[in-house]
Amino acid sequence: MKPLKIGITGVRGIVGETFTPELAVEFAQAFGTYLDGGRILVCRDTRPSGPMIRSAVLAGLLAAGCEIVDLGICPTPSMQLAVKWLEADGGIAITAGHNPWRWNALKFVRGDGLYLNPQQAEELLDIFHQNEFLKATWKGIRSSVLYDDPIPKHIEELQKAFAVDVIRKRRLVVAVDCCNGACSLLSPRWLEVLGCEVLALNNDPTAPFPHAPEPKPATMAQLCALVKAGRADIGFAHDADGERLGLVTDLGEALSEEMTLALAADIRLRTQPGTIVTNVSTTQAIDCIASQRGGNVVRTPVGQTFISEGLLEHDGVLGGEGSGGITVPEVHLTHDSAAAIGLILEHLAQTEERISDMVQYLPRLATLKHDVAVEPHRLYSVLQEFRAVVEQEGLTFDSTDGVKVTMPEGWAHVRASNTESIIRIIVEAKEKGKAAELLDWARDRIRIS
């Protein structure tokens, strides 16, 4: 049985196993307690367990005396924006993002629309563990209202950030795979506002995920076929809740998820040289691009909350992660695949460049990723042991998040996942052979028992 994962991104697990309605009720009541019974937004993606978890969350929040605005099925970034214009004290997104169908999770958002930072997540966890919740009386208990369609407001905010008229004039042909997730309600509409001819795939929020909701080449075959058949200018692949974005070029080639940030950074730095904020696990290509274009890179631990805070701290012009999550600060300080789409299409419209050409000039490194399942109680010990081995070998490393060892051929990053009980290994080198060697090097030094 896969264990429950409680961490800085919230709590996630497999429904029918560890992710029980009681857990969702208690976490929601803990969050309501943490926010002192204020106004909380709730949204969800299209997973079949969504309504069950939603009821549990509503019960927990109502019991803590919260007032609830339920946005229904809607992308997480839409809810994060709505926290501000609905003047909420926070929000709960019921979505397991890129995890498979049977998973679900609660992601906690604070009053400024950003995820809780690690200290805040700890405080919430403390309340949960102590089990001392606010309990509203019959006079104090409030209710939940449904907010129908928060999408137009999101699109309004997006429009302010991009040259919409220029994009509309170009009538770009855009293929999009919404994975039958929450973006089904946002992306096709946003693309229409941008005047695109939309070739939408898997945009039925009532249908099951057609493939794993993680935008990477392995899940983009259908999209590639559509791009080719429809002679599209570009193809976009979504995860289940609108944070990550994958790209397919006009030639129908699926790009690695690392390329989304590479492309976005390249585009951004051409017109706004400045600081790109990313994490230590993301491709070195970002640094090459930044030095070419006159920008610089700040690297944080893995996790959206660090990107947001990094952007604030360094006045960054763009944020993102190698997983495909992009933050365009002028929209809001969180990953938003719709904002990334705006940025990319604006560039295509303004320059008439083709994605396939752009990608030619971007440094393409070989990245390999490998996950090792570890018992939860061993997770950090395994990491410590790897660190000890690396130290023994006299290698220098970056401990921002786990252990990242940089070597002449490339780098290897070993860290504990925020969302599952696994050790993630990511290696990068100039070419595949070397990357494979680096991966072997790392795997040989990891002992799980």
Binding site: V15, P51, M52, S55, L62, T137, W138, S143, S144
Partner: protein, 439 residues
């Protein structure tokens, strides 16, 4: 399963109970309805989460009377139902009432099974892919009204329209009660029909709580006043003079109408007024008395194919429409009786001897009760005795019943006689005797 919001009634507890129920009913379709209490929405969501998690499907009928939920369970051939209501308990309470697939509340065996599942904590947990859905149904109240009108028809249009004051206590009958009365063709004056969770009066429709209703009946010159409780299962009646007739007499009037149209067995409990017996005798129909408790009454009704039944607390059960205590059915039967007979409520009751029921209770540890009952059986051995539920003694001047409670450490003394003074005398005599045994 009941408790106080903000204290013992927590969403975690509720979700677990709902999972236990979902497990118990084999992941079937469960109808969920609630009264207007402010905590109802929270409880409903906790219940839905639990049912869905255990593989069940939910039909959410919204705010509606308990008998409406029961009717829906049977109509839809659902596997069960949950009514979220604490009946006449004050506003800070709420509770879950579990309904079986036959539309009746769980009997003690089923309730025990449910508790076992709850205590063991081993609930069915389906995977994300197998989770089913929630269907929201808006017309359950209308369907209930239709069921009543389809069976009994509207009131005869000849003659003057009956004027009715309805006090729904801002409860679950607030919307559907007036709708039913209008559908019947009565002239409705509604009071306390705002289902916002506020309690305009104590919810139990006892005479002492019906002051506003009585005043309204007098002010408007109404033919009758009806009072519902929070979950609209019980019905109390105020006559055309603005005087409450007593909760025992709701069933008496209902039986008077029903037996006048269809002969058959009548069922009530041991604590019911002798007036019911008089009505049954008038129509030559057998009367069966059972132990106190709705489940006992409905069991006997099923067994005997009874045409009407209920308890002395204002609960009317008319199987032709709904096998449940149903205030809507009660109102319809009584209004039809008034229209058909052309008589007033007082005139209708005048044809029978008038009895007075006096009820008392006192604190008593449960272990002392057997000895007290044994003493009474011994001392009143020469009189007709019924010992199925405590001790009921039939005296020349009336009867008295002494029994413990399943839910509280008390002992109840009830007596009935033709004259109020005599009823009070019996009660004080027995009360003193019982008290002497306790101390």
């Amino acid at each position: 399963m009941r408790g106080v919001i903000g204290q013992s009634l927590t969403p975690v507890l509720l979700t677990r109970f709902a999972q236990a129920f979902g497990t118990h009913t084999g992941s079937g379709t469960i109808v969920v309805g609630r009264d207007p209490r402010t905590s109802g929405e929270m409880v409903k969501h906790a219940v839905i989460a639990g049912i869905l998690s255990s593989g069940g499907r939910v039909v959410d009928v919204g705010v509606c009377p308990v008998p409406t939920v029961q009717l829906q369970v049977r109509r839809r051939k659902a596997h069960g139902g949950i009514a979220i209501t604490a009946s006449h308990n004050p506003a800070e309470w709420n509770a879950l009432k579990f309904i079986g697939s036959n539309g009746l509340f769980l009997d003690s065996g089923q309730a025990r099974e449910l508790l076992d599942i709850y205590h063991q904590g081993e609930y069915t947990k389906v995977s994300g892919e197998e989770i089913r859905s929630v269907e929201e149904v808006e017309g359950a109240g209308d369907a209930h009204v239709k069921a009543v009108i389809d069976t009994l028809g509207p009131l005869p249009s000849a003659g003057k329209k009956l004027k009715v004051v309805l006090d729904s206590c801002n409860g679950a009958g607030s919307i559907v009660g007036p709708k039913l009365l209008e559908a019947l063709g009565a002239d409705v004056i509604p009071i306390n029909v705002t289902p916002d969770g506020s309690f305009p009066r104590p919810a139990e429709p006892l005479p002492e709580n019906l002051g506003d209703l009585c005043a309204a009946v007098k002010k408007h010159g109404a033919d009758v006043g009806f009072a519902q409780d929070m979950d609209a299962d019980r019905l109390a009646i105020v006559n055309e003079k603005g005087i409450p007739i007593g909760e025992d007499y709701t069933l008496v009037l209902a039986a008077l109408y029903v037996l006048g149209h269809e002969r058959g067995p009548v069922v009530a409990n041991l604590s019911t007024t002798s007036a019911l017996e008089d009505v049954a005798k008038k129509f030559d129909c057998p009367l069966f008395l059972t132990k106190i408790g709705e489940v006992n009454v409905t069991d006997k009704m099923q067994q005997q194919n009874a045409v009407i039944g209920g308890e002395g607390n204002g609960g009317v059960i008319y199987p032709r429409i709904n096998f449940a205590r149903d205030s809507l059915v009660g109102m319809a039967l009584v209004l039809h009786l008034l229209a058909e007979s052309g008589k007033t409520v007082s005139q209708l009751l005048e044809q029978f001897p008038r009895y007075t029921v006096v009820k008392e209770k006192m604190a008593c540890p449960s272990e002392k009760i057997p000895a007290i009952l044994k003493m009474l059986r011994h001392e009143y051995g020469e009189f007709p005795l019924d010992t199925r539920d405590g001790v009921k003694v039939t005296l020349p001047e009336g009867w008295f019943l002494v029994r413990g409670s399943n839910t509280e450490p008390i002992i109840r003394v009830v007596a009935e006689s033709r004259s109020e003074s005599q009823a009070r005398e019996i009660v004080s005599r027995i009360y003193a005797r019982v008290a002497s045994c306790i101390h």
